[in-house]
Amino acid sequence: MLAILLAACTQSPPKPPPAPPPPAKPAAATPAKPAAATPTPPRADEPRRIDAENFARERDRLAATLGRDERAALADTEVGYYMDVLQGRLLQRAGDRLTVTRESDRLIVALNGAFESAGDRCQPARPLGEALQALAKVLAEFDKTLVALRVEADVRGAALDPVQAHRYAVAAARSLEQAGVAGRRLAVVERGAAAKAPASAGAATTTAHVEVDIDPIRRRAGN
């Protein structure tokens, strides 16, 4: 027990929160946007995509959309407590398999692991799959969050082929969804036209760096 407490002595006090984002405008009042700034509609079997170039705006827009559902969203006064507890739970449940970084009300979870590709199929190899399972279990409980997955580099930091990277991100998102995280909360960050490129047909195993951005879904003003 003391060992746990001793481990606790290396603390990570949360950073002070920035000014809260302006409340999203009601959906009805939102004018139509150019295609590049609108989250790309997912294919039937794929999670929602967010263009990396406009990541922050698209993420906020998506979160705002989800925030229309009052029961699935947090009041501003609840956000801090919610994200603190979520951070604690992530550290408790999967602390040794992933790293958790706090940026204001955002949590960034980083995992390293291999993806196995064969033909059209791509899935996380077992250790990464287990880590994603553990992450999914927590995210399923803390369901008032938007989860954006990003795979851009391998574990050494070398940039991955954008098409492969996108496939890995989608595979990771699917893994979370299958473990109980609602698909509507999941998004995959893609770089430009990468998703439109044909998938590699060769079999391969690549160790990639997966980054998961977890943002609170705030209740929209006026809801």
Partner: protein, 521 residues
Amino acid sequence: MRRQQKIVLFATLAGVLGAIVLFVGIAWLLWAQFVAAEQNAAGGLAAALGQATERVIVNARDTLARLNELTTTPCSPEHRAAMREAAIARPYVRSVGYWRAAERLCDVGFLPESGLKPPRADRIYDNGLIAWWPSPRTESGGVQLFLLRYGDHDLAIDPRQLLSLDEWRNRQAVLYVEGLRMAAVPGDVELPAPGTLPQGVTIDRDHGRVLSHFTHSELIPIDVVAAEPIESLVSRHTGVLAGGAGAALALIGAWLFVVLRVSRRELSMASELRIALANNRLSVAYQPVIELASGRCVGAEALVRWTREDGQVVSPAVFVPVAEQAGLIQDLTVAVMRMAVRDLAALSGEFDDISINVNLSPEDLRNDRVDRELHRALEAAGLPPKAIKLEITERALLNTELSRSMIRHFRLRGHSIAVDDFGTGYSSLSYLQSFELDFLKIDKSFVDAIGTGAATSQVIVHVIEMAKSLGLDTVAEGVETREQADWLRARGVPFAQGYLFSKPLAYDAYLEFLRTNRRTA
């Protein structure tokens, strides 16, 4: 500045400075004792509080871990019973809650049903333990609670239970855990933060209080900052203070006593005489000795003189007894002897038949110091021993065989020995016979009686006759009139001295006297 004034000034300064040093020293010792006592008391209590707080936090975290491991259905009677048991067993626990994410599903204790959801945790540990330090956002029922959440359960802890000051009445205290304020007595007290205070006890003069800061950090850094009015500290140490004050008074009194004693000694005539001797401030006057038959000056008696720095002349009748009492008489004899030899050496070129009489005290006959010094001085001056005649009093004759042998020794060297003030003591004829002497000096009291018809006027006749019978020459002292001189000459007294011939003279005057005497005699 006169010596006496210097001594008084020095004694005053020494007394005052010494008293101040003693006072400050004892005050410092007392303060050191206060501080040591406070260090022990406050440090011990802080350590106890730190250990207790540490135990509470560790126990709370373990309790949460055990509750998380329960396999009972959440919020079932069994689950609630386990939570209740955990709360009851720990007096510091206000509430135990079970949560799903941020929703409190069930609880035991004294918190609102929805629980407390402070917007920002103070600590999120790597193992997932989350802590909210007491603040207005954790307040419930008028108490700012310390919240711990681990997994699905949380504990609300009453921090007042962590800071018991039963032993610290009249004190204010704040308990810090990991540098954050955990509890305070009284609850709203504001004391300096631990980071601004050194470890141990310090005085906060601006606020008239004693601050103590102690850190306990075996597992968790815990600081206790306490404040107490200075008066309270002093009142708790009244016994020590009284003892210290008594000791201070005793020591200061002893110091002043010593200073007084030393200054009195330094102010004494003996001390002054010692300094005068050391600085050669004594002088010699010469009382001429006249051969009555011819009127010729044959020598002089060296008489010591002391003039103080301020010009005050001290009578030999005053300072010679002081020198005898203070053990300075031999120094005095030697000083006179050296001056006499020096002056005699100067005279010898012009008057080679002159002798000087030097008085010895009884003490001078107890050892050979005077003999050695006299011998050395005469040798250095190239003078024969007969140039110095030695006068001893009757009292000296009363002393032991040592005196007798010293007299014999002086005579063997070549000095003549005279018995001074003869007739005033108790010397009998037979007693005088046992000594080897050369002169009898007839005391002035007998000379004064000459021609007066007084009873004592006949005594001098017997003295003169006695001297003759012993084969001793005589010298009459204190001759002041021609009649006295004539009478003495008629009775066969060969030598005389007194104001009739001359008062005691300084060297230069004596030299002139000699020259005049030799021209006319």
